[in-house]
Amino acid sequence: MIDFWMHPSAILIVGALLLPFMQNPVVRRPFLLIVPALTFLQVIIVNSAPGTYGVVNWMDWYLTFGRVDNLSIIFGFIMSLMCCIGTIYGLHVKNPYEHMAAWIYVAGSLGAIYCGDYLVLFLFWELMAFSSVFLIWFRKRQQSQKIGYRYLLVHTAGGLFLLAGFVLRYYATGGDYSFGQLDVDHPTLYTYLIGIGLILNAAVPPFHSWLPDAYGEATVTGSVFMCAFTTKTAIYAMARSLAGFDILIPMGVIMALYGVVYAVLENDSRRLLAWHIISQVGYMVTGVGIGTALAINGTAAHAFAHILYKGLLFMGTGSVLYMTGKSKFTELGGLYKKMPWTFVFTMIGGLSISAWPLFSGFVSKSMIVAAAFQDHILWAAFLLTLASAGTFLHTGLKVPYYIWFGKNNCSEETWEKAQDPPLNMMVAMGIASFLCLLIGVYLPFMYDMLPYQWAEYQPYTAYHLAETLQILCFTALGFFLMLSKLTPEAKISIDLDWFYRKGGGLFMWVDRVVFQTVDNWVGRVWDKLGILPLMTVSRFWSWFDWHGIDGVVDGVARGVRGIGGQVRRLQFGQIQYNIYFAATVVVVAIIAYVFA
């Protein structure tokens, strides 16, 4: 049975397939605006009628493409909205395949969000990985290809964990492949396998290194898309299946702090933001681990807000990269005179992620911390608050300071090129900035979409305002007092990707130095000790074959040939002689028989 139900992803996929034929900018630009807008409209239509749709019977499997419920509604909404903003930001990009990859990537995300079983989830999960890798490859730098392959390999491995997990679950449960809450109180092997598959996409340490590697290298537009979809789709999938899984609480807290530490050391602005994705997603992972209604609301709200402010931050730093060709702090500085609007927009993103009052992060992040306090997990609540100081330290202070203020490290060429980006990029940043503020000041815009409406939360209390302002203002004091310690250094930081990046080299070294040496040595020994006896034995058997085996065989042959020769003499080749000899023999035989 196939219910007719227009999947929002279908609009994006059809649009993506038609896009390469839209070479004329007069046609292509409106098309680039219409397709995401139609997708967003379809999401709103779909969200208006919760239920299960798009159930397809395929080879005895019932595949569910359209599960619209309280959790998928909010994620579907923000993903399709971000697709509109990201496409506007990339409107100037001439390569149609970059838009195509981005749209298919978003289609994968929406497909994963609205799916109802693990088979469809896996299909869209892989679609996301295999489309988003092109957003790295299209940067076309020497290292882009390598980084893209690393990204693809890591995500393929994650996909295989997910696949193994749900196949095991299918057999263990007697055929259940529905995508729903797992029994996290009694985890089994398949729970952990599915968990690893999901947390790898959420970039939870130790499976996180792909994120700064890939997002720091993606194209200017590509990173705006990538920063929104992969990790937040994973968070959605975790909220759907792993809510209340205790182990996620320490993992999320470690994640929140880990990203902050590496952000201090980072010299590349976009990689720094990537480290802060890990940190912010850490809050969401903790929220999933706590698993209460308030915590899941906080996770959904923070994912919603994060997609917008992180997209805005990547748009801001991406604009600097697009205009100047630079993204490292040691090659930038003092740009407020040249790119003032980009500074304003990036600052709004920075204040949002730092959870300043009136900005989006203030009404979302605090919900997760409040859930930790409410559940009396004090250590997690205090450590997440500590991490929030680190967030403001880097994203709210370090990024703007070292790009737009601080020491001017720009070369003459960089300074000449620097100016606010084209109109479409400014409009996209303007929309994202507006939404960051709207979420912060008009609570119903986001809160009315939260999964558990009965779990109420009020962020604007005097205590919460006092607490937040004290933490943020005194973090700023610490930043300016310790400014000399934070001077960017033109270095990279070794992380856990060392194991597979250097590990590959180590494998080659072991292969060359150990295995190849041993192989050569064995070869030489074999030449001396193995070949000579072998040749002697071979010669003996050759002689034996010739004179022994062949001698016997040839002797028999020679005997047969000799007898044949004698018999041949009796044959004259004339039929009358043959009859004559035959008749004589017969007659002699008869006489002998009669007279005997």
């Binding site: 201090v264 407020y336 209390t461 006092a466 933490i471 973090t475 610490g478 310790m482 934070l486």
Partner: protein, 85 residues
Amino acid sequence: MILVQLIDYLRERLKYVNRICYVILAGIAVWGSRVAYTSHHAHTAMEKWPFFWSVFGFLACVIIIVFSKWYGHSGVMTREDYYDD
């Protein structure tokens, strides 16, 4: 642009800006402590200590910077072409 002019204006009077910021900081610390003391929203008793969240924010910043730099300089930070070998 007005924004650029405003920034230039403030940078030229950085000493006064700093003083105003310190006054604001002190005001927030005092007000925050008073709110915490009278509020029933505090989750733990220590949050009612005077200047608790101010000290927390400042120490969090210092700890993050000092620890991260120590960690980075203990061998984690390396040259940019490290993986190109």
